[in-house]
Symmetry: C2
């Protein structure tokens, strides 16, 4: 058992630093019922830090699974009215959003089309909420809390209680939540991001070129006036918050028309409860034109074909092999963690704020600027210990960014 | 550990017989997160019995308590918008409502005014949902599922896991859920109710007179065209369902103007997490004009003074000492169970269907017919082993109903 005092420190970090809660601001916590003990600590932390109200949106994977396998298909084409009200009201009131949990397990046998339909409906039916998340105007934080299924996935050989404790130890460590002053640790972490972001954005690379011995040879085109981000982010009121705890990545959103070449995944992808292994994607003019997987190929297809734009990239992110999560050498089976262990890409939705002025643009304007708009945003890992990443300037000059899987040159 | 098979049988009884679920009908389950394992069984049963959809309204007493003690008082004057949407949509769609749980514990230190304000707001803000429950047009079932706090209250000397198992045993027994065919057991149970209800309603007593050696000497006036109810009830579509599992009571709603005398509680009352003990009420012209309690007197006052009408009676119910729950001799600290162990009264809201045509009346019309309308409906036990209940006809004829705490004469 992890001491409650350590967990409460983590809860305060997530609410105070992750969500950057302001006095009087409402908080919406979404969490599976299984982690109720930690949710109570998070609610307590929120009230202690001055929350105006605390609402919990509970969920349960088994109740969800039963609905997916037993309900009519039409159920997943619309978002339940109460959920629309909950999320849209939260957006209207400027609530901070704290998403807690540990990946989605136990969804084997569920038709992926239903999950995709539900996700698409959610995006359509809750425009204010999704706009707030997409543009970064909603202060929010996603963070891991062990569930039994997740812990057993990460530590299959340990008894359940021990697996949960071990996963907690890993989570608290990579969240920088265990030291004497977690808030200060995160301020230091943020400063190191700022330097590299500044350098990368100032370079205004035309393309970024990835190569690795596994066959990856991919060129990703960037847009004029693109911006790199990482660490925390400012919302419209200048509140600096951390959308993810932990976070180690520096990322931008590419020109959706200009990705070409082949990329091999370097880690399995856990998506909607299923594992996709040893997969590759081939791009032409930004679009996936071919793909393959040793396992989970149909699930991979469901992502690529989820909508018209889920076959284009929405994100390209750099993570060095020296990141604490990478060093831990633990596969978390959770994007939140695993994406911070290796360079990655995402199929689907862009981050509008990765384009200068993008937050002020409508979806139509973003499309016109060649950013990708989709209901999907699915990260997958491509980073390897031998990966090289090179930035190419409009004049053809090559600037090394990564060598042997880590920062090089001016970016060290 | 209780075998899952037994629990699933109970779940099916609650959905199939309790809620009388129809094919395609949506189900709304409300439950604390702690009992998620049973909620999953109930959801499974609902889908198996043909539910059109299953929604769970989760809650957590500790999250609620933190809000009560930390939030601004104004938070409790309105119902959160998502909750209004959830309940009103359920009413519009004709959802069956299954309320699971085990009383409210751990609310010590919470200002009862806030709880009352929240209850009052809920009644005002969700008119369709409350009308459906009040008139009985919504098929619904409230039933017990052990929580740790509840089990330890009932069996304070047992270890937690054992207390929960013992409470399950008691619940399954009094719910008639453990036999070979629970649905048939409930059909038989219903038939025995029908006979007594028919006799009592046919008599059209003018008043009912309660006496016991503890000092109770109370006369409750009934209305012309009153009806007695008990067991299940028909909704507007003629669907017979059981609002409570278990249920042993036969009840009506009195003339709010004509209760007089003194009544002593025969069991402690657990209300909003606090115990009210050894209390009495004195009535004149229907209204509580004096009261006292050995413990919890302020909580009792908060009920009586909750609104203008919570000092009048809304229900008078007959339960024999021979009822299985009474025979079990276990104080459940839960109205659902304890009210089925003894004759009881309720302060506050009437049941409109206890007056001929009452379901078709507006609140104003119900008031004009001298039924009581209030945001409160609070049951308290008055039955004793020596209780006598006599029905008095308009011409003064006395008809014995109960003698020594049990049915007598034509009602045996």
């Amino acid at each position: 058992m992890i001491a409650e005092e350590r967990l409460y420190k983590y809860a305060k970090l997530l609410v105070g630093t992750g969500c950057a809660l302001k006095k009087g601001q409402p908080v919406l916590i979404s969490a599976p019922v299984e982690i109720a003990p930690f949710v109570r600590l998070a609610a307590k932390a929120a009230w202690e830090l001055g929350a105006g109200d605390v609402t919990v949106q509970w969920s349960d994977p088994e109740v969800d699974r039963l609905r997916y396998v037993s309900g009519d298909a039409a159920l997943f084409d619309t978002t339940p009215a109460w959920e629309v009200t909950l999320l849209e009201t939260a957006a209207e009131k400027g609530a901070a959003v704290l998403r807690l949990g540990g990946g989605m397990f136990g969804m084997e046998g569920v038709d992926p089309k239903r999950m995709t339909a539900k996700m698409r409906a959610g995006r359509r039916d809750c425009p204010k909420f999704n706009a707030g998340l997409g543009k970064g105007s909603t202060t929010r934080c996603g963070a891991g809390v062990p569930t039994a299924a997740w812990a057993k996935k990460v530590f299959p050989d340990l008894p359940e209680a021990e697996a949960i404790d071990q996963l907690w130890e890993a989570i608290l460590k990579v969240a920088r939540a265990d030291g004497p002053d977690p808030a200060q640790a995160w301020a230091d972490h943020a400063a190191s991001f700022q330097r590299r972001i500044g350098l990368l954005t100032a370079r205004q690379f035309d393309t970024v070129h990835y190569t690795a011995a596994n066959g990856t040879d991919l060129t990703v085109g960037l847009l004029p006036n693109h911006r790199w981000h990482g660490g925390g982010i400012d919302n419209e009121d200048g509140v600096y918050y951390f959308p993810n705890v932990p976070t180690e990545e520096i990322f931008t959103s590419p020109d959706r028309r200009r990705t070409r070449g082949v990329v091999h995944a370097s880690l399995p992808l856990s998506y909607q409860g299923e594992m996709i292994r040893d997969f590759w994607l081939k791009f032409e003019e930004g679009k996936v034109v071919d793909f393959g997987a040793a396992a989970g190929e149909e699930k991979l297809r469901s992502i690529i074909e989820a909508d018209d734009s889920s076959c284009y990239l929405g994100e390209a992110a750099l993570v060095p092999q020296s990141s604490p999560i990478s060093q831990l050498g633990l596969l978390f089976y959770s994007t939140l963690y695993d994406e911070n262990a290796a360079c990655h890409l995402a199929l689907g939705r862009c981050y509008p704020f990765c384009l200068e002025g993008g937050n002020q643009m409508s979806e139509e304007e973003l499309k016109a600027h060649h950013l990708n708009i989709s209901a999907v945003h699915c990260d997958f890992m491509i980073g390897t210990a031998d990966m090289a990443v090179t930035g190419i300037l409009p004049d053809g000059t090559e600037v090394p960014i990564f060598k042997d899987g880590d920062w090089t040159g001016e970016f060290v």
